[in-house]
C-alpha cells in the first residue's frame, strides 16, 4: 500500500509540475522612458510575464554623420529590477550599407559599452541581447559579422528578429548566426491606402507560412497588439499616426466616418498634434482579438510546434485597453 501511495504522490507532483510548466509569454517595451503604469503592471502580473524585451536604443548612420550614432537611449527606472530584461537594439539597415568593414569592431564595442552604461545607471546586469535589423542581401554579410563579433566579445545569448520575407528568401538573405530568432508575424503588407491591413492580412501571411517549418533556427514568435492609423492624402500615405485612439474621431465635427475603418477630414484642423488637410483620410489598422487567435492558429498549423515563446509587441496600455483582459490567456490556450 505504501508503495502505491508514493507513486500516487509522485503522479500528483508530476501533474502539478506539468501544470506549472506553462510556456511563458513576454512583451516588447518600445518607449524611450521605462515607466510602467498600473494597467501595464497588471497585465504583466496576471499573465506571469517576467521577461521584457526592452528597446535600449537605435543605431543609425545618418547621411549627415561620419559614423553610426545611437539614437534616443532609454532612460530606465528602478522598477526595471523586477524583470528579466533582454535589451533590444534596433540597427537601421543603412548603417550596414555605409559601415566600412574596418569600423565594424569599433561599432560592436560601442554598442556593448553603451548597454553596460545604461545598465550601470540602474546597477543591474543583462545577460542576453537581441538585434533588430531589416537586413538585406546587400548587408547580410556585415550584419552577420557584427553579430558574430558581438557574441565573441560579450559571451551572451544573442537573438535577432526575423522578418517573414527573410524566412521565405533565406537562401538570399541568409540565416543570422544567433541562438534563436524572433519571427515577426506582422507588418507583412505594404503600408498604403488600399483596403488591406499592413499589420496582418491572412492572405499575405499565406505566402510565407509554408517556409516557417524549415527555417533552420530555433524560433520564438512576436505577435502584434498595436494599432496605428495612416493619414492618406490623394490616396497616398503621408504620415503614420501612432498610438491614437481611433474612436475619438467619432465625436469630432471636423471628421466624418466614410467606412468601417476610415474617417475623412471635413475641414482642415489640428488633432493630437497632427494636422489634417481638408479631404485627408484616416485609415485605421489594428488587430482585433479574432485576428490574434487566427494568427495563433496559423502558427500552430505551420510551425510544427517549434515556437517556444510568444512575445507581444508592444507593452503599452494605449494598445492593451483595446482588448478584453483575458486576451493573452485566450491566445495562450489556443497556442499548441
Amino acid at each position: 500500500m505504501k508503495k502505491y501511495w508514493w507513486s500516487f504522490l509522485l503522479s500528483l507532483m508530476l501533474l502539478a509540475a506539468c501544470r506549472q510548466h506553462k510556456r511563458p509569454i513576454s512583451f516588447y517595451y518600445w518607449k524611450t522612458q521605462f515607466s510602467l503604469n498600473e494597467y501595464e503592471r497588471n497585465v504583466l502580473r496576471e499573465n506571469e510575464a517576467q521577461t521584457l524585451y526592452v528597446r535600449y536604443f537605435d543605431v543609425d548612420f545618418k547621411p549627415e554623420d561620419n559614423e553610426p550614432v545611437p539614437v534616443s537611449p532609454i532612460q530606465l527606472d528602478t522598477s526595471i529590477h523586477n524583470f528579466n530584461v533582454i535589451p533590444v537594439v534596433f540597427i537601421k539597415n543603412r548603417t550596414f550599407e555605409r559601415l566600412k568593414a574596418t569600423d565594424l569592431t569599433a561599432l560592436v564595442r560601442k554598442v556593448f559599452y553603451l548597454i553596460i552604461q545604461i545598465n550601470q545607471k540602474q546597477r543591474f546586469q543583462t545577460h542576453e541581447i537581441q538585434f533588430d535589423c531589416d537586413w538585406t542581401e546587400r548587408t547580410r554579410d556585415i550584419f552577420f559579422q557584427f553579430i558574430q563579433q558581438y557574441r565573441e566579445m560579450a559571451g551572451e545569448t544573442v537573438s535577432a528578429t526575423i522578418r517573414l520575407h527573410q524566412v521565405k528568401y533565406k537562401e538570399r538573405t541568409g540565416v543570422p548566426p544567433v541562438d534563436y530568432g524572433v519571427l515577426m508575424y506582422y507588418n507583412m503588407g505594404a503600408i498604403n491606402g488600399d483596403n488591406n491591413n499592413s499589420i496582418y492580412e491572412r492572405s499575405v501571411a499565406n505566402r510565407y507560412n509554408s517556409y516557417i517549418k524549415s527555417y533552420p533556427l530555433k524560433l520564438h514568435a512576436a505577435l502584434p497588439v498595436f494599432s496605428w492609423a495612416l493619414k492618406l492624402r490623394n490616396g497616398k500615405v503621408v504620415e503614420l499616426l501612432n498610438k491614437i485612439n481611433f474612436t475619438q474621431f467619432e465625436n469630432d465635427s471636423n471628421f466624418i466616418r466614410i467606412s468601417n475603418d476610415r474617417y475623412q477630414a471635413k475641414h482642415a484642423c489640428f488633432k493630437w498634434g497632427f494636422y489634417f488637410k481638408e479631404k485627408d483620410e484616416i485609415k485605421q489598422e489594428h488587430i482585433p482579438a479574432e485576428d490574434l487567435l487566427d494568427i495563433t492558429n496559423q502558427i500552430n498549423e505551420h510551425s510544427n510546434g517549434r515556437i517556444d515563446k510568444l512575445i507581444f509587441y508592444d507593452l503599452d496600455s494605449t494598445n492593451l485597453i483595446q482588448y478584453e483582459k483575458d486576451i493573452f490567456e485566450k491566445i495562450h490556450n489556443n497556442w499548441n
Partner: protein, 750 residues
C-alpha cells in the same frame, strides 16, 4: 541656442515602428535640388527664408538638418562683445574666452582682475585685452564666469554620442539656487543696458532648465518691454515659449514661437522645430492672441510651410493682406512642389525627366494663382504672373502662358534673377508652342540657347531642367525630320553611331569651316570630339576583325591606354581580377595588342603555327568583348564605361560588345588545325564557353525583366563543346576542366 524640445524629437525620432516596416523619408546626396525644377525661389523670396525653400528629401533646403543648436550665435556674440569692449574681432581673444576657455580659466582671470591672483592663466598671458584693464573688461569676465556655469546644462548637443551620461542631465550636478541668485543679483544691480539684457537672458534660460518654468515666463514677461527686440530678446522669448510648452499652454507657446520665427532669422529653424499646435482649439486660441494681421499672416505662413497646406495659407494671408511678403515663400514652395508632378520616369537614363502634360490636379492651384495674379495687388505681381503662366505652360496651354509672361515682363524689376527667370520660362514656352524645328524657330532660339549654354552650373537660376528638356525636345524633332547631325548635337544618342555613315557625316560636320551661327552652336553643344569618334571607329573595326584598318585609326590618336591583364590569356574559368593581378612581362596597350594580333593573323594566313596563333587570336577576341579581361579595350565615350553587367551596355551596342563571333571563328580554326588530344580538348572547352555566352546573350541579356536576377530557370545547358570534350577524358586538360568548372563537372555526373 539649445533645441528647446529634445523630448519631442526623441519621441518622433525613435524607431517607433521599427519592428516592422517604415517609411523612408530622407536620403542623402547633394543639397541642391536633385529634382526637376525651373522655378527659382531665390528670384522672388527673401533669403532669410532659404531653409524653407522646397527641398525634396530633407526639410531644410541647403542644409538638410539643423546642427547648429550650440553654435548659431557664436559669431554674433563675439561681435557684440567686441563692440562693447571696443576691441577688434580679428585678434581672436574674445573668441577664445567665449568659446574655448574653461570655466576654471575664466574664474582665474576674474581673480586676477580683482587682484586676488597674481597671474593670468598661461593661455591668456599674451592677450592685449588684459593690458588695458578697465571696468567693462571686469564686467565681461564676471559675466562670462556665470555664463560658463550655465553652459554646463544649457549647451546640450552631446559631444560624443556614445556617452550615455550626456550633458542633458547636468542640471542635476549644478547647484541652481546660488547660481540663479547670483544671476538675479547681477541682473538687478547692473545699470548697464548691454549687461542687463544679457543677465536677463541668462536667467530666463537658467530658469527654463532648472525650473520652475513659470519663473522663466514671469522673468521674461515682466521685463521684455524694456529691451530692444534684438537676437538676445528673441532667444529669451524662445525659452519663455519653451516654458509655456512644458506647462502645456500650447497656444501661448506657439504664439511666442511665431514671434520668434518672424523676429529672428537665426531662430527660424528652432521655431519651426518647436511650433506644434496640439488641438484645433490651441491653434484658434493662438490666432486670437495676434494683435495685428501681420502676426496672423506669420502664423498662417508657418502652418502653410510646416504642415504643407500652402493653398490654405495663401488664401488666408491674401484675405488678411494681399501685399504681405509672406505669400512669396508659400507661392514658391507650392510651385516647386507642383512642378514635381511633371516629372516622369525615364527608364533609359534611370531618372525623372521633365515633361509638359495635362494634369487636372493643378486646376485648383492654377485658378487660385491666376485669380491673385489677375488682381495684381500683391507685393510682387510679376511673380504671380510668372507662376500663373508657368502652371498654364506645364499643362500645355502655351497661349495663356505667353499672355501671363507678357504681363510679367511689363513691370519686371531690373534685378538679374527675376529677369533671367522670365527669359527661361519664355524660351520653354516658345519651343512648346511649336511642333517643328524649322529655320524660323532656330533663328528665334539661337541667342536664347547661347545664353542657356553660358550659364554656369553653380548659378542660382534653375536652368538645367529646362535646358535638358529643350535639348531632348529639339533632338526628337530633328530625328523626325531626319536631321540626324543636329539631333545628336542637341542630345547624344547611341543608335546614331551604329551606322558608320553617320559617324563620317559627323566628322565632316565638325571639320566644316564655314558653319552658320546655328551650326556653330550645334557643334558647341555636341558632347564628343573628333578624336573620340575616330577612337570609336578603331574599336568597332577591331571588333569586326578588321585589325589593319583599326591600327591605322588608332595610330592617328597616339593612344597609350594600357590594358589591365594579358589579353592573350584563355582560362577555364574566367577571372578578370586574377588576370589583372597576375605578373605580366609585357603590358599591352590597345595599339600594341592590335599589332600583335595582326602579326598572328598574318602568320595564320601564311600557314605558320596556325593552331597556336589561332588560339591566341581567339583568346584576344574573346577578351576584348564584355566577357573578357580587357574590357578597357572598348571603353570609350561612345560605347561607355564601367559596364558591370551587359544590361548596363546601351542596347545599341550590346550585341557588338558581347558577340562571340570572332572568338568562335578563331577557336574553330584552332580546332581544325589541332594535332593533339590536349589541344582539341582545349578548343572544345573554349568553344563551350563561347556557346554559353551566346546563350546568355539570347536568353537573358536581351530581356530587361531579368536584370535583377529574377530568372529562375536553368542557368546552363549541355553545350556542344562539353559533349565533344567527353571523348578526351584521358587528357590532362579534361581533368583540369573537371576540377575547375562546376558546370562541366555537373554535366559529366549526369
Amino acid at each position: 541656442m539649445k533645441k528647446i524640445f529634445s523630448k519631442k524629437y526623441i519621441i518622433t525620432g525613435i524607431s517607433s515602428f521599427t519592428l516592422g516596416t517604415g517609411i523612408i523619408l530622407a536620403c542623402g546626396g547633394d543639397w541642391e535640388p536633385e529634382y526637376n525644377s525651373s522655378f527659382t525661389p531665390e528670384a522672388f523670396v527673401d533669403s532669410t527664408y532659404r531653409p524653407f525653400f522646397y527641398s525634396e528629401w530633407l526639410f531644410y533646403y541647403g542644409k538638410g538638418h539643423d546642427t547648429e543648436h550650440d553654435s548659431r550665435f557664436n559669431s554674433s556674440n563675439i561681435n557684440d562683445w567686441c563692440t562693447y569692449l571696443g576691441i577688434p574681432i580679428a585678434d581672436g581673444e574674445v573668441s577664445h574666452l567665449q568659446l574655448s576657455a574653461s570655466s576654471a580659466a575664466i574664474d582665474s582671470a576674474s581673480l586676477y582682475l580683482s587682484g586676488k591672483a597674481k597671474a593670468l592663466p598661461s593661455t591668456m598671458q599674451s592677450f592685449q585685452l588684459f593690458k588695458r584693464s578697465n571696468k567693462k573688461l571686469a564686467s565681461f569676465i564676471s559675466y562670462l564666469s556665470l555664463a560658463k556655469k550655465c553652459e554646463a546644462f544649457a549647451l546640450s548637443y552631446p559631444k560624443y554620442s556614445w556617452e550615455y551620461e550626456t550633458k542633458k542631465n547636468n542640471t542635476d550636478t549644478v547647484n541652481a539656487i546660488p547660481l540663479n541668485n547670483e544671476l538675479l543679483q547681477e541682473f538687478t544691480k547692473t545699470k548697464d543696458d548691454f549687461l542687463k539684457e544679457r543677465y536677463w537672458f541668462q536667467l530666463v534660460r537658467s530658469y527654463f532648465f532648472t525650473e520652475p518654468h513659470q519663473q522663466a515666463i514671469d522673468l521674461f514677461e515682466n521685463n521684455e518691454k524694456v529691451f530692444p527686440k534684438n537676437e538676445l530678446y528673441y532667444r529669451a522669448m524662445a525659452y519663455a515659449a519653451g516654458a509655456y510648452y512644458k506647462l502645456k499652454n500650447y497656444s501661448k507657446a506657439n504664439y511666442y514661437y511665431s514671434k520668434v520665427y518672424d523676429g529672428c532669422d537665426l531662430l527660424k529653424t528652432v521655431a519651426h522645430f518647436s511650433f506644434h499646435p496640439q488641438e484645433e482649439k490651441d491653434w484658434k486660441a493662438t490666432l486670437a492672441m495676434c494683435v495685428n494681421n501681420d502676426e496672423k499672416a506669420t502664423l498662417w505662413q508657418m502652418l502653410g510651410i510646416f504642415y504643407s497646406d500652402e493653398k490654405r495659407a495663401i488664401r488666408e494671408i491674401y484675405s488678411l493682406n494681399p501685399r504681405s511678403e509672406k505669400l512669396n515663400l508659400l507661392l514658391s514652395r507650392t510651385i516647386n512642389i507642383q512642378e514635381q508632378r511633371y516629372s516622369t520616369w525615364d527608364d533609359g537614363i534611370r531618372t525623372n525627366r521633365f515633361q509638359i502634360q495635362s494634369d487636372s490636379t493643378t486646376k485648383e492651384l492654377s485658378s487660385l494663382v491666376s485669380r491673385i495674379a489677375q488682381a495684381g495687388n500683391t507685393n510682387k505681381p510679376y511673380m504671380w504672373q510668372m507662376a500663373a503662366g508657368y502652371l498654364h505652360m506645364l499643362n500645355g496651354n502655351s497661349k495663356e502662358a505667353a499672355t501671363w509672361y507678357a504681363l510679367a515682363g511689363k513691370k519686371l524689376p531690373g534685378e538679374e534673377l527675376p529677369q533671367q527667370q522670365l527669359r527661361l520660362l519664355k524660351i520653354i514656352n516658345t519651343i512648346a508652342s511649336t511642333t517643328k524645328a524649322d529655320s524660323k524657330l532656330e533663328k528665334t532660339i539661337l541667342p536664347e540657347l547661347e545664353w542657356l549654354k553660358s550659364i554656369q552650373p553653380e548659378a542660382p537660376l534653375r536652368s538645367g531642367t529646362a535646358f535638358g528638356w529643350i535639348r531632348r525636345t529639339m533632338a526628337d524633332r530633328y530625328i523626325k525630320q531626319k536631321e540626324f547631325i543636329k539631333a545628336v548635337c542637341f542630345s547624344n544618342y547611341p543608335a546614331f553611331y551604329v551606322d558608320n555613315n553617320n559617324v563620317e557625316a559627323m566628322k565632316s560636320f565638325l571639320n566644316k569651316t564655314n558653319k552658320t551661327p546655328y551650326e556653330s552652336l550645334c557643334a558647341k553643344m555636341y558632347t564628343l570630339t573628333l578624336n573620340e569618334l575616330v577612337e570609336y571607329q578603331a574599336i568597332d573595326l577591331a571588333l569586326q576583325d578588321k585589325i589593319g584598318e583599326a591600327i591605322i585609326k588608332l595610330e592617328s590618336l597616339f593612344d597609350g591606354r594600357q590594358l589591365p591583364g594579358n589579353p592573350f590569356n584563355g582560362r577555364i574559368q574566367d577571372c578578370h581580377d586574377c588576370d589583372h593581378d597576375a605578373v605580366q612581362k609585357i603590358k599591352y596597350t590597345r595599339l600594341s595588342l592590335l599589332k600583335k594580333m595582326k602579326d598572328m593573323e598574318d602568320k595564320i594566313k601564311a600557314g605558320n603555327d596556325v593552331y597556336n596563333n589561332a588560339m591566341l587570336v581567339a583568346n584576344a577576341h574573346y577578351n576584348i568583348t564584355h566577357y573578357g579581361n580587357a574590357r578597357a579595350f572598348y571603353e570609350c565615350r561612345v560605347l561607355g564605361e564601367y559596364h558591370y553587367s551587359p544590361y548596363t551596355i546601351d542596347s545599341a551596342f550590346r550585341r557588338p560588345l558581347t558577340d562571340m563571333k570572332q572568338a568562335i571563328k578563331y577557336y574553330t580554326l584552332a580546332l581544325t588545325t589541332a594535332k593533339t588530344d590536349e589541344q582539341k580538348a582545349k578548343c572544345h572547352f573554349m568553344l563551350a564557353k563561347c556557346e554559353r555566352n551566346e546563350w546568355y546573350n539570347k536568353t537573358m541579356f536581351n530581356n530587361s525583366k531579368y536584370e535583377y536576377g529574377d530568372r529562375q530557370s536553368v542557368d546552363f545547358l549541355p553545350w556542344n563543346g562539353f559533349k565533344s570534350l567527353q571523348q578526351y577524358s584521358n587528357t590532362q586538360f579534361y581533368k583540369e576542366a573537371i576540377k575547375e568548372c562546376g558546370y562541366f563537372r555537373t554535366y559529366t555526373q549526369k
